[in-house]
Subunit: 226 residues, 2 copies
DNA sequence: CCCGTAATATGAAAATCCTGGTTATTGAAG
DNA sequence: CTTCAATAACCAGGATTTTCATATTACGGG
């Protein structure tokens, strides 16, 4: 299981890290709000453990921005020293799924983590998205079309990932650029080149095209010819 | 939202009931473990609030049996007076999603309930507008009249979208132009041409006309002949 | 009831904008 | 130093939007 720990206290972070790595999980760490948000939006995690008090950007803000910009479905467990109801409410309003007050027992953390991730696994929410005969594995970053492996560059992969997450929806060009180049929208129009190379790899060899362009708006991925 | 409360303490049950019914939710109550399990397995709830100490069958058992026999994905929030780690662990092991220790604030209960149910509701809503037998999907940008797909150009789609969002209202020509050409109102009168092409596609083939022109003012979309 | 004026509808041509594909340049990594 | 990926720049082809000229319809006064 991939877990992201956003926590500036090195002791707590290493405690959590050791505990969960011993259980066979794969951990990533961030020691500031900004770095954490960056990691969280750029990768897929099964769970995010987020401290409330952080340098740079506090946990509530990180949580809110993550929910706005990125994945709605990744569980977030918030960690904090404070135990006032107001803190809890603002945390939950920002999109937290659970709330644990320091000092806490690693055992309780583990069972809450387990409870949060259980539902996702029960629904078999796999890290692979399938549209028609196109498969994309979010963990291994492998893509196959008709069981034939396709090699994609990182940028192209992210674009395809977002298109597949929003299959059948028309994605405005601007939204797509916003998603891929989160904070640094480039000068020219590199999106076109990437779409082109994507098409060449996943659509060119097949009769059934999956990437459709909606003139004047953006792109749509789907097997239906609307 | 349908919530099942399994709690033998009448005071607590009625407090919870009143609080959530005021918020517009639909509550069912059970005062024993057996009755609770029966209700839970026989109906579909969005959430189950479950007391640990119950006559007949305790909360842990109810929880475990419910998870074994019935829905895996209904969130369960366990309520208890005891605050030992062992209790929490056994609760989570039985399949609880959250754990709240009495005495608790109804506000905290509410935010935790909200957090538990949020993810389930996160499933995307279609965003389709329907007027008579005319359907417009804002996500896929699909338009159908009498289940027959209609292909529209972006500008025409935007115009139809705005008309449908304000169905039955007379939209002054100026307002419509303002909406479609936000900052650059063109010289001539392209709106007329677009309305024309819209009519040709969605009204021409049908007896029941939907786009009506109001002389001197603008246009109105609706099935009623006012 | 008829007519003149103004508003709207219609159809096609023209102008504009958008996209796809290609190539060159830059930058990073091994 | 080499190689690969990412970005920038370009043009042609096509789709879309707009313009324009003309026909039709609605309204109000005589």
């Amino acid at each position: 299981m991939k877990i992201l720990v956003i926590e500036d206290d090195a002791d707590i972070a290493s405690n959590i890290g050791q505990y969960f790595e011993d259980k066979g999980h794969q951990l990533d760490f961030a020691y500031s709000g900004n770095h954490g948000l960056e990691l969280a939006t750029g990768n897929r995690f099964d769970l995010i453990i987020l401290d409330l008090m952080l340098p740079g950007k506090d946990g509530i803000t990180v949580c809110r921005e993550f929910r706005e910009k990125a994945r709605q479905d990744t569980p977030i467990l918030m960690l904090t020293a404070r135990d006032t109801l107001d803190d809890k409410i603002s945390g939950f309003e920002a999109g937290t799924d659970d709330y644990l007050v320091k000092p806490f027992s690693l055992l309780e953390l583990e069972v809450r983590v387990h409870a949060l991730t259980r539902r996702g696994q029960a629904k078999k929410l796999p890290a692979v998205i399938t549209i028609d005969n196109l498969e994309l594995n979010q963990d291994t970053m492998q893509v196959t079309r008709a069981n034939h492996p396709v090699k994609l560059k990182p940028k192209a992969f992210k674009i395809l990932e977002y298109l597949m997450q929003n299959a059948d929806r028309v994605i405005p060009r601007g939204e797509l650029i916003e998603q891929i180049w989160t904070d640094d929208p480039p000068e020219g129009d590199p999106l076109r080149v990437h779409i082109h190379s994507l098409r060449k790899k996943i659509d060119k060899p097949f009769e059934q095209k999956l990437i459709h362009t909606v003139h004047g708006i953006g792109y749509r991925l789907g097997s239906d010819d609307l």
